[in-house]
């Protein structure tokens, strides 16, 4: 009974504290109307174990850009939906998602990846590397213009070929370098083409003699 009371008290204190934090961060930055909506969405998100920072950031961004409150509200609800979808996709992968991974998953969805893509990427992430980092790499590739399916395939191939975490993190820069090399040779190379070249290299590495494929683990 005592434990229950203490837990309840801590939960109430924690919710009250996070509510105060949200209020403090929004003070003077957004309209009262937007602040009230963020407060409501953030309280609900925190109760479901979702990160609240993307909601706060989107509200501040909207106000800074002079976007009308009703448009900010639409964007906020979209972010809230992406956070929910990302959490579900990560759970589908068997992961115990942390708020960082959920935020990265929501960003990946906004960048054009699907729920299934997020699930697949979480599944191929090795325990040694962070799911959030893998999702950030994939969303950056998608934001560069690499098609979602190709993005997932490239990241998966590099991880399964035994690529280190640093190699995975360097993929966007590698794609950019491939595009630049194309320009240097006087021909246009799209990010998709550059990514395809990296995929072929990863496949060749995976099939090289003596190469042992690491088993992807659940994060």
């Amino acid at each position: 009974m005592k434990t229950l009371c203490v837990s309840l008290l801590l939960a109430i204190c924690s919710t009250a504290s996070s509510a105060q934090d949200v209020t403090a961060r929004l003070a003077g930055r957004v309209s009262p109307e937007v602040a009230a909506l963020v407060q409501q969405l953030a309280t609900s998100a925190a109760a479901r174990g979702l990160p609240v920072d993307p909601l706060i950031q989107k509200a501040i961004e909207g106000s800074a850009k002079g976007v009308p409150a009703d448009r900010v509200a639409i964007a906020l609800r979209a972010v809230s939906g992406q956070l929910d979808a990302a959490a579900a996709a990560l759970q589908q992968a068997g992961a115990a998602p942390d708020t960082d991974a959920i935020a990265a998953g929501a960003f990946a969805l906004n960048a054009g990846l699907s729920d299934q893509d997020v699930t697949t990427l979480a599944q191929v992430s090795r325990p040694s590397s962070s799911v959030a980092a893998t999702l950030r790499v994939a969303s950056t590739l998608a934001a560069m213009g690499v098609p979602a399916a190709q993005t997932v395939a490239l990241v998966t191939q590099v991880i399964e070929a035994g690529g280190s975490t640093a190699e995975v993190l360097a993929l966007p820069a590698d794609v950019m370098a491939g595009v630049s090399r194309g320009h240097g040779r006087g021909r246009d190379v799209t990010p998709a083409e550059a990514a395809a070249g990296l995929s072929r290299a990863a496949a060749a590495r995976a099939n090289a003699p003596g190469q042992t494929k690491p088993k992807p683990g659940k994060p």
């Binding site: 950031q57 989107k58 961004e61 909207g62 850009k65 979209a78 960048a111 054009g112 950056t140 934001a143």
Partner: protein, 195 residues
């Protein structure tokens, strides 16, 4: 209650004898001694009450004390150990000691220095706003470089993913043409920086 003369009281206390009393007090002294001798000096006892009190005490202490006695009573324990069975236990203990004594690695707070550049020859002022500065367009102004029309700012940012845009002349939000971009939810594009 009889109020005796102080000297008679001394007699009763045994401090004086009857002979020590002045003649006029001797009669009073004798009377006092007579009364004292008549007092019943047998101790007063209440055997039934005593028995009841002791029985109640035994009843209250009985259960707890017997349990406690059972718990604390010394017992002889015989232990036979086969030496080889100790090896896994010792190995586990050693592993536990090593694990617990190993200091928790503190993840370094990685920061990366980034140079933002925008070519905006017509601009009077350019600023940088993003998730790293709470979208505050007054926080990070770009400065003109030596090359005409080129504005730049150098920032040290924490590793992670950041969204940003340039703000030209305090009103026009422009995505970085040299960086990937995503929909900002308001009909524009935000540039993406992954560190």
């Amino acid at each position: 209650m009889i109020d005796f003369h102080p000297q008679v009281k001394q007699l009763l206390d045994g401090e004086l004898t009857l002979a020590d009393l002045p003649p006029e007090l001797r009669a009073e002294g004798e009377e006092a001694l007579r009364l004292l001798a008549a007092v019943d000096r047998e101790p007063v006892t209440f055997p039934a009450l005593e028995a009841r009190v002791l029985a109640e005490l035994r009843r209250r202490q009985g259960r707890a004390s017997s349990l406690w006695r059972r718990l604390v009573a010394p017992r002889e324990v015989r232990l036979r150990v086969r030496p080889w069975t100790l090896v896994p236990a010792l190995a586990m203990a050693a592993a536990l000691v090593v694990l617990l004594s190993r200091p928790e690695p503190t993840p370094p707070t990685a920061t990366v220095t980034v140079r933002f550049v925008l070519f905006a020859p017509e601009a009077q002022q350019v600023a940088l706003a993003g998730t790293f500065n709470q979208w505050d367009q007054a926080a990070t102004p770009l400065v003109r470089t030596g090359t005409p029309g080129v504005w730049a700012a150098t920032l040290t940012l924490p590793a992670g993913q950041h969204e940003y845009a340039f703000v030209v002349d305090g009103a026009r939000w422009v995505a970085d043409p040299g960086a990937p971009a995503v929909d900002d939810g308001f009909g524009r594009r935000n540039s993406v920086l992954s560190l």
